[in-house]
């Protein structure tokens, strides 16, 4: 077995470290991902300081002033004013709070529902698979707009929630997130199912079964880590889609009601003024674009950091 010794000698020595240290190191080496993550953190912090900044400048983002419309940037209104004379910067900051939270929470909830359904359907197969996938088809087949109107019209007060609570901003916000997740999980569910079926056949899953592994173990330990790549990509793409989706919901008149700004509804409103005041569309549009790009880079970084085959 002299070949054997050569094989051993051919291996460079590896420093001992835990898998999470390794992943963190790989992520930190990925410049675009780190910059994008930094940008998202800065953006979130800036959105978070909207209230103190408003106090500092003495500006209320909800105050309209029709004599003071479409103002260019000034010391009082750093990014000027909109078609109702409101401060654009503060509205962007407040809107960012809603949009970022809806985008990220909505994506997470979407992913949780989609991955659960897809993993279960793909791994168990048979009748459960057929049932879950037909259910998914049904959700896809539903016409979106009427469903959203019906879901949006549900009066939470009549479902047993106290009226004050049913109209609280938190409940309205959560309601948007849940509505989005309920119609948007199908893409990730189908993707997860397809990938799961491919991994399920692999021999390492069979080896674990021979050693007594149950379904749940195989799904969590072998299948899920091996399908993260396409799921991460789908999730990062869905953040941007959900931010825009929220504006559709707002446009339909439920969810985030007009005085409360979101990037989505600011962009929608600015469409009518695109010739006279293009900046009003550019600001929220640019922020959505940068957010989506950053999330993509971060997602890519996470994907690479978790893939042992990528070069560290």
């Amino acid at each position: 077995m002299s070949m054997n010794q050569a094989e051993i000698a051919g291996l460079p020595s590896a420093p001992r470290q835990t898998i999470w240290q390794l992943r963190r190191r790989r992520f930190l080496k990925n410049k675009p991902a780190v910059i994008a993550l930094g940008f998202l953190v800065v953006l979130a912090v800036l959105c978070g300081v909207a209230y103190p900044l408003g106090q500092f400048l003495g500006v209320d983002p909800a105050t309209t002033n029709l004599l003071y419309r479409f103002q260019p940037p000034s010391t009082e209104h750093w990014l000027g004013t909109d078609e109702l004379g409101r401060d654009v910067l503060l509205r962007l900051m407040y809107g960012g709070q809603v949009s970022l939270a809806v985008g990220i929470l909505g994506t997470l909830l979407t992913a949780i529902i989609g991955i659960t359904v897809g993993l279960w359907a793909g791994f168990v197969g048979g009748r459960i698979d057929a049932f879950l996938m037909r259910a998914t088809d049904c959700v896809i087949a539903l016409p979106m707009t009427p469903v959203l109107i019906v879901l949006g019209a549900v009066d939470l007060g009549k479902l047993g929630l106290a009226p004050a609570m049913a109209n609280s901003p938190l409940v309205i916000f959560l309601r948007i997130v849940i509505i989005i997740a309920l119609v948007d999980w199908t893409t990730i569910a189908r993707l997860t199912r397809a990938e799961t079926i491919a991994v399920r056949q692999k021999e390492y899953v069979k080896a674990a079964q021979v050693s007594g592994a149950r379904r749940f173990y195989n799904m969590m330990v072998h299948v899920l880590p091996n399908i993260t790549t396409p799921i991460t990509v789908a999730m990062t793409l869905s953040v941007g889609r959900i931010i825009l989706f929220e504006s559709t919901l707002s446009f339909l008149g439920f969810g985030i009601v007009p005085p409360t700004p979101t990037w989505g509804n600011m962009l929608t409103n600015a469409q009518q003024l695109i010739i006279s005041a293009p900046a009003l569309a550019v600001y929220p549009g640019l922020l959505i674009f940068l957010t989506v790009m950053s999330v993509n880079f971060v997602g890519d970084g996470i994907r690479i950091a978790f893939d042992p085959r990528s070069k560290s």
Binding site: E203, Y204, A213, N226, F306, R309
Partner: protein
Amino acid sequence: MAALLDVQDLNLRFPIGGGLFRKPLTLHALTDVSFTVEEGETLAIVGESGSGKTTLGYAISGLLTPSSGHIRFGEALSGAVEDRPVQLVFQDPFSALDPRMMVGDIVAEPLRLAGVPNKERQERAETVLGQVGLNAESAQRYPHEFSGGQRQRIAIARALIADPKLIVADEPLSALDVSIQSQVLNLLNKIKRERSISYLFISHDLGVVHHLADRVIVLYLGRIMEIASREHLFATPSHPYTQALMRSVPRIGRGRRQPGQSLKGEIPTPLAPPPGCVFHTRCPKAQDVCREAVPVLEPAPGRPGQMSACHFKD
């Protein structure tokens, strides 16, 4: 020697197709398979593609549930959680190891599933990696950093770690280069000597079988054609199918194969196996009786240890 594994009248059938209004077809993967494996014995299973070798291996390792018949392990094995009686080694060392797991975790997985604490199983993983000729540092690496032969060693280490009594090796060499094959073959032999493990060695390479096996089962279309010790099988093959397999082995320098001696045609579909002896469609000796009566597995004339299922066995 005591019987380690006892397989009796094993049948495996799969319903194929079949929809709301269509009756499914039945695929006869294994029909009336009976044999035993002794402790420390290497039993080889040979046959061409589609003969049910892998299905048999999966059934014995519990991945497939028999339609009828039973698979029993010796009494000493039932009970203990930690020593699972069977482990599998697969043909393709690339899909046999989870690419997202470190080798140490892959090897230790049978122990993890048996509830052995982490520290102990990492130690045992390093020990067993050493036994298959890999260093302890390999435990901290990922499968893609290893060559095919090394991966097969890792797979063997995983099979060994929980001290199984039987290893089902499903063509463990056929995906490897010839030079690596001999290394892995020697490793399997060494393990057998040191641990008195039994192998169920599935292969279509008669040269490897000759090197490793104590006894051989010849499988054709899910049925046992012949069971014999290695010496008998290679010296005096009794079943016409076995004889055809022997003739089909490529030879160097010992004369060319005679034309007309090799088998013609393909293995019939297991969805509709031929009546009588399943081999009659391709058998040079086939008579009317072969098309009607299923031959029983009986000792060949003068050789009680060599069982053959043929009306005209030699």
